[in-house]
C-alpha cells in the first residue's frame, strides 16, 4: 500500500453507552501518516483524544469508522504486535511479580529464548535504573519506579515502532532526561516513535514532527522546527559581551532596519539547574 509505518484515514471513534446510544465523539476523522524513523509528538489538552487514537492503533479499541494501519497491517494483526512496543498512560502491572519476573513474562509472550530474555531484561533494567530494586515485588514500587518497569517492558522485544503515552509523566527530572535520551537513541537506531504528551518542553526536545489534537480533531500537523519558527524574528546568543556595550549592538540593529524588542541575560532551563544540583549524586547511587 504505502511505506508509512503508521497511517490512518478518516479514523473516528464514537463512544456509546451500554444501549449503543452515542455519548461522545472522542476522535473525529483523523488522517495521519508517520514515516519510518520519525519521532512524532502527539499533543493536545486533556480529553482531546490522544489515548483513544493510540488504543485504536493498538487494536484495543475498534474504530467506529475509518481505517488504521500499523506496519501496513490491521492493528489487530498478531504479527504486528511482535514488532511494536507500548507504554500506557500508567503502568498496569501484576503487583505480585518482581521487575525481572515482569520483563521475563512479557519476553516469554514474544517467544524470546530464555538466555536472551534474561540478558535483555538485565540490560533494560540497567537502562531504566532499576537494577537494585529488580527483585522486589512491583507492589512495593513508587509510581515512578512502576513507570520505569513500564518503559522497560515496552522495549523488551526491541520493537521497530514504539507507542509512548505520556512517557515522562511521573518521572523525576533525571529519569525524564534519560527517557528523552532513550527516545533519541531509538531514533538513532532508525525506530519510529509515536508519543503523546502535554509537557511541551519534552516534545520540543525530542520530536521531529508534531500533531496537535483538540476536541478530537487534528488541528495542526507538521515538522516541529518549521512550526515553531517565527518567520521574521531572529535570535542572537552572544558570549562575553560587557553590559555597557549592549547599546552599540542595539544601534547597529536599528541601522540595519531591524526592530530590537528585548535584550536579556540568557537563562538556563530549570531542568538543567536541577540536573546540575542532583544529577551527580544520583548517578552514583541509583534507586
Amino acid at each position: 500500500m504505502s511505506d508509512f509505518v503508521i497511517e490512518t484515514q478518516g479514523l473516528t471513534k464514537v463512544f456509546t453507552d451500554f444501549w449503543g446510544r452515542r455519548k461522545h465523539t472522542a476522535v473525529k476523522s483523523l488522517d495521519l501518516q508517520i514515516e519510518r524513523g520519525e519521532v512524532f509528538g502527539f499533543l493536545g489538552p486533556n480529553g482531546s483524544g490522544k489515548t483513544t487514537t493510540m488504543k485504536m492503533l493498538l487494536g484495543l479499541l475498534y474504530p467506529t469508522s475509518g481505517t488504521a494501519r500499523v506496519l501496513g497491517k490491521d492493528p489487530a494483526h498478531i504479527g504486528t504486535k511482535e514488532r511494536i512496543g507500548f507504554l500506557p498512560e500508567e503502568s498496569y502491572l501484576y503487583r505480585f511479580l518482581t521487575a525481572v519476573e515482569t520483563l521475563e513474562f512479557y519476553g516469554k509472550l514474544f517467544g524470546i529464548p530464555r538466555a536472551d530474555r534474561k540478558r535483555r531484561a538485565q540490560e533494560l533494567l540497567e537502562i531504566v535504573g532499576l537494577k537494585d530494586a529488580m527483585h522486589r515485588p512491583v507492589r512495593e514500587y513508587s509510581k515512578g519506579m512502576a513507570r520505569r518497569v513500564g518503559i522497560a517492558q515496552a522495549l523488551i522485544n526491541d520493537p521497530e515502532v514504539v507507542f509512548l503515552d505520556e512517557p515522562t509523566s511521573g518521572l523525576d527530572p533525571l529519569v525524564s532526561r534519560r527517557m528523552k535520551d532513550l527516545i533519541l537513541d531509538l531514533k538513532r537506531q532508525g525506530k519510529t516513535v509515536f508519543m503523546s504528551s502535554h509537557l511541551l518542553a519534552d516534545i520540543e526536545d525530542v520530536c521531529d514532527r508534531v500533531g496537535i489534537m483538540h476536541l478530537g480533531e487534528l488541528r495542526a500537523n507538521g515538522p516541529l522546527r518549521d512550526m515553531i519558527r517565527i518567520q521574521d524574528k531572529t535570535c542572537l546568543v552572544v558570549h562575553g559581551l560587557a553590559p555597557n556595550r549592549r547599546l552599540e549592538i542595539a544601534q547597529a540593529i536599528e541601522a540595519a532596519d531591524g526592530l530590537l524588542e528585548d535584550i536579556t541575560d540568557q537563562k538556563r532551563s530549570l531542568e538543567d539547574l536541577f540536573l546540575g544540583v542532583i544529577g551527580q549524586d544520583k548517578e552514583d547511587g541509583r534507586r
Binding site: K55, G79, F96, L109, G111, P113
Partner: protein, 479 residues
C-alpha cells in the same frame, strides 16, 4: 540430549502454545504468591481434623463416612476455586487495565483465555492431588485401626429382566433389556418368578466363589420388613450336587420345572434366603457355573403374602475387589471433570461480565447444575400429560365439544414449554452426574464407562464454553 531438550523447549515457546503456557504459568505463580497453596494446605489439615467430630459409629460405616466427607469437601473447595478465583481473574485484568499490556503483545485473545483456563486447571489438579493423597492416607489409617475393609467392587448387571409365570403354557408378563429400565412387581397367589438374564460375565473377573448381590424393595400390608425368597439357577449339565455347591448352600435337583417351555427335566439349583427390605445381601455360587459367561437367576417368594418389586438392578454379580486407592482416585477424577465444566463456564462468563456479576453467575450455574438432574427426571411426566391431553382433545372433538371447555393447559402450550425447557436444560450441565460418592458409599467401583461419559460431556461443555468466551473476547473493546 540436553540440546535436543532445549530445542524442544524453544519450539514450544515459539509455537502458539508458548503464550498459552506463559499465561498458565503466570496464573499458577499468582496463586502461589497470593497464598492460595497455603490455604489449600490449611484446608487439607482442617478437613482431616474435622473428621474427629464425625459421630462415632460402626467402623465400616465410619470409613465410608470419612470418604464421603472428604470427597464432598474437596469438591466444594474446588468449586470455590473455579468460581471465586477463576471467575475474577480476567475481570480484574480488564478493570485494572493490565489487559492493555497483554493484548499489545503477541498474545491472541484465544491464547489469553485458554492460558487462564490451563492455569486454573493446573491449580485444580495440584489441589486434587494434594487433598486426594492426604485423605487417602488418612482413610487407610482409620480403616487399618478399626479393622474395616474398604475394597470396592464392580457390579455386573443383567442384560435382561423378566417376570414369568411358572405354569405350563403361560407367557411372559413383562420384560426389559438393559437399555430399557424395567419396573414390575411380583404379587398375588400365582407361581410367578422374576428372572435376571446375565450374558456378559467374564469368569476372570471373579474369585472361586462368585458373589451375587441382591437388594429388594418389599411391599405389602403393614410395612414388610422381611421375606423368605428362593433363588433358582440352572447350572451347566455336567455340574451336579458337588461339594462346592453344597458348601455354598445350594441344592441341585432334576425334578423342578422353573420356566415353561424349557426342556424337562430341568436341572435346577436352589436355595432359600431371608431378605431384609432395602438392605443389600449377598450369596455365592461356584465359579464353574458361570464358565460360559451366561446364567439366569430366578427369584420367587416363599409365601405369596408379600409383593416383590422388580427392577434391573435388584440382582447383580460382584467382581473381584479393586483397590480402594484406585477407586477413590477414579471418583475424584469425576469431581475434577465437574470442576473443569464449571471453570470453563465461569471463564467464558468473565469475558463479558464484571467480577461480582460473574461470581453470581458462577454460583447460579453451580446451584442449577445440581438441581437440573431432578428437574430433567420430571420431564417424562409432562410428556405423559401431552399424550393424555391430546387424547382428551380428540375425544372432545369426536363428541362435538369445543376446545374451550377443558380447563387443562392446551397441548401446543405444553409442547412449546417442553421444547423450551429441554433446550434451556441442555445448556446447563448436570453437575450431579459427576458425583460418584453415592456409588462409592455403596462399596461399589466407579465404572470406567462413567469416567468416559463424564469426560465426554465435560469436553463438550468446556469446549463450547471456551469457544463462546473466545468469541465474546474477540468482540470486546478495552476502554
Amino acid at each position: 540430549m540436553k540440546r535436543r531438550l532445549e530445542a524442544l523447549a524453544l519450539g514450544i515457546l515459539r509455537s502458539p502454545a508458548g503464550p498459552v503456557l506463559a499465561m498458565a504459568g503466570l496464573t499458577l505463580r499468582e496463586s502461589v504468591r497470593r497464598k492460595v497453596f497455603l490455604t489449600i494446605a490449611v484446608f487439607a489439615v482442617v478437613m482431616v481434623g474435622a473428621t474427629a467430630l464425625l459421630p462415632a459409629i460402626d467402623p465400616r460405616d465410619r470409613v465410608a463416612l470419612i470418604q464421603t466427607w472428604a470427597q464432598r469437601s474437596i469438591t466444594f473447595f474446588g468449586v470455590l476455586i473455579s468460581v471465586f478465583l477463576a471467575g475474577v481473574s480476567l475481570p480484574e485484568d480488564i478493570e485494572e487495565k493490565r489487559v492493555f499490556m497483554l493484548l499489545t503483545k503477541p498474545l491472541s485473545r484465544w491464547q489469553l483465555l485458554t492460558g487462564r483456563f490451563a492455569g486454573f486447571a493446573g491449580l485444580l489438579a495440584v489441589f486434587l492431588a494434594a487433598t486426594g493423597l492426604v485423605s487417602t492416607g488418612f482413610i487407610r489409617v482409620v480403616a487399618a485401626r478399626s479393622g474395616g475393609t474398604i475394597s470396592p467392587v464392580s457390579e455386573v448387571r443383567a442384560l435382561q429382566t423378566r417376570i414369568e409365570q411358572e405354569k405350563p403354557g403361560s407367557v411372559v408378563t413383562a420384560e426389559s433389556s438393559e437399555a430399557v429400565p424395567f419396573f414390575g412387581t411380583v404379587r398375588g397367589e400365582g407361581e410367578t418368578i422374576a428372572v435376571w438374564y446375565f450374558r456378559n460375565l467374564d469368569p476372570s473377573d471373579f474369585d472361586d466363589s462368585v458373589r451375587l448381590r441382591y437388594d429388594f424393595n418389599l411391599t405389602g400390608p403393614g410395612g414388610v420388613q422381611f421375606a423368605d425368597l428362593v433363588f433358582y439357577l440352572r447350572p451347566p449339565a455336567e455340574e451336579t450336587d458337588t461339594d462346592a455347591a453344597r458348601a455354598l448352600g445350594w441344592k441341585v435337583t432334576f425334578e423342578r420345572q422353573i420356566v415353561p417351555g424349557q426342556p424337562l427335566p430341568g436341572r435346577v439349583a436352589y436355595r432359600s434366603e431371608t431378605a431384609k427390605a432395602r438392605v443389600p445381601g449377598e450369596i455365592r455360587i461356584p465359579k464353574a457355573w458361570i464358565r460360559s459367561g451366561s446364567i439366569d437367576v430366578g427369584v420367587k417368594r416363599a409365601k405369596p403374602s408379600t409383593n416383590l418389586d422388580v427392577e434391573s438392578w435388584n440382582v447383580s454379580f460382584l467382581t473381584r475387589a479393586h483397590s480402594f486407592e484406585m477407586n477413590f482416585a477414579r471418583g475424584l477424577m469425576c469431581t475434577f471433570l465437574m470442576w473443569i465444566v464449571l471453570l470453563s463456564i465461569t471463564l467464558a462468563g468473565s469475558t463479558f461480565m464484571t467480577a461480582p456479576v460473574n461470581i453470581l453467575f458462577g454460583v447460579s450455574v453451580f446451584v442449577m447444575g445440581n438441581m437440573i438432574g431432578f428437574i430433567r427426571e420430571s420431564l417424562p411426566t409432562v410428556d405423559e400429560r401431552i399424550v393424555m391431553a391430546t387424547k382428551a382433545d380428540e375425544e372432545a372433538v369426536r363428541h362435538g365439544h369445543s376446545h374451550g371447555e377443558t380447563d387443562d393447559i392446551p397441548v401446543p402450550v405444553l409442547k412449546a414449554s417442553l421444547a423450551v425447557s429441554r433446550a434451556v436444560m441442555g445448556l446447563i450441565p448436570d453437575l450431579n452426574a459427576y458425583d460418584a460418592s453415592g456409588t462409592m458409599l455403596r462399596g461399589l467401583d466407579v465404572p470406567g464407562s462413567r469416567i468416559r461419559d463424564n469426560g465426554l460431556t465435560a469436553l463438550a461443555f468446556a469446549g463450547g464454553a471456551l469457544l463462546i468466551g473466545i468469541a465474546a473476547l474477540r468482540l470486546r473493546e478495552f476502554r
